[in-house]
């Protein structure tokens, strides 16, 4: 039988094909991950519920009007001062039950971080950018307090703890770390209400 050599396939254009695919995937790739501020909406209540009476001093009212102006506790305020004001309010510890609070213990301000509620109101014409800025400042206030508390209690900031829980390479007891995170979350609960 005659030996028939099969013709060699020309692979010279393989690079071109691969380039074509490469460019396609380069163009369609989106590397960025979604990020944002997490919030939980209050559930809808069907039946009339008895109104829980909250003392006025435990509510920190933030109002954003149509012109994106900020009214905090009935006073006009700049955005950059909001964080400090919120921290002062949350960390006040007026009734003395909060042993870890560093605030002024002003009896006219909030009783303890568990009772302190921040209420954020907006109007229909408020711009979304400004609204997010305010949300961001308020979340930052909580984070500052939590970081401080975690640093003092466990020698690690709260953000670091949260990062370590997700980090696969972190060496240490994750169960314990989760418990510690929950403890901090309990000590400074995020009570931020968005009013319609």
């Amino acid at each position: 039988m005659a030996k028939r050599a099969s013709p060699e396939v020309n692979a010279g254009s393989m690079a071109d094909i691969a380039f074509l695919l490469l460019i396609f995937f380069l163009v369609t790739t989106t590397m960025e991950k979604d990020s944002g501020i997490n919030r939980k909406l209050p559930p809808m209540q069907d039946d009339e519920q008895e109104d829980v009476i909250i003392k006025q001093k435990n509510i920190f009212t933030v109002l954003l009007n149509n012109k994106d102006q900020l009214l905090v506790e009935e006073e006009l305020m700049e955005l950059k001062n909001l964080k400090t004001a919120a921290i002062e309010f949350l960390d006040n510890g007026g009734d003395g039950s909060c042993t870890y609070c560093k605030g002024k213990r002003n009896p006219k301000s909030s009783d303890n971080p568990d009772k302190a509620i921040i209420s954020l109101k907006n109007e229909r014409k408020t711009s979304y950018g400004m609204y997010i800025s305010v949300q961001n400042e308020l979340v930052a206030a909580y984070n500052v307090l939590r970081n401080k508390r975690a640093q003092q209690e466990f020698g690690m900031s709260f953000t670091e703890m949260q990062k370590n829980v997700k980090d696969v390479n972190w060496v240490g007891n994750k169960e314990k770390l989760k418990e510690q995170i929950d403890q901090i979350k309990l000590e400074y609960p995020q009570k931020l209400s968005e009013v319609q």
Binding site: G36, N38, R124, S127, Y128, G129, I132, E137, E194
Partner: protein
């Protein structure tokens, strides 16, 4: 003439390109693995606000997206300049959100439903009015976990 040609031997030898496909394939595989296809085409302007305290959304398959913003240039004539809602590929009314969430939930496995997060991708120029309406609608269908999409950055950029 041939005498001269034979002698010539000074030029650079050609570079061997046989391994070029391999290199290109390596890159190709990297991008294929890293690629997440864009799910919807945006019909609206969508410049997200900046915030410093952002958290990352981990599981992409558990996220539902609601886009809000002004219609982009091609749609201005038809839909006006007021901010609108976009669900999947179409403009939608506030009342359609309930059906949208129900449809998204039907796609997912039952045990995943409590972990679903609604990501609100809202243009920073939009008004809170429409966002409030959407939030109200989400409360009605009990989709309470939401995420205000934002880019990591300083808040002062939100004013532009």
């Amino acid at each position: 003439m041939s005498k001269f040609k034979k002698k010539k031997d000074g030029g650079l030898p050609p570079i061997n390109t046989a391994s070029l496909p391999d290199i290109v394939f390596m890159l190709l595989f990297f991008f294929m693995v890293a690629t997440v296809m864009r799910e919807n085409t945006l019909n609206i302007e969508n410049r997200l606000p900046s915030a410093t305290e952002v958290e990352k959304l981990e599981k992409k398959n558990l996220v539902m997206y609601i886009y809000i913003g002004k219609p982009s240039r091609n749609y201005k004539k038809k839909y006006g300049t007021e901010a609108r809602i976009q669900l999947n590929d179409k403009f939608a009314e506030v009342s359609e959100i309930g059906a949208f969430i129900a449809a998204e939930r039907a796609d997912k496995r039952e045990e995943e439903i409590p972990f679903l997060i609604t990501s609100l991708k809202v243009d920073k120029k939009a008004n809170m009015g429409i966002v409030g309406d959407v939030k109200q609608e989400l409360r009605k269908v009990n989709a309470l976990k939401i995420n205000y999409a934002a880019i990591k950055g300083d808040v002062s950029r939100n004013r532009q």
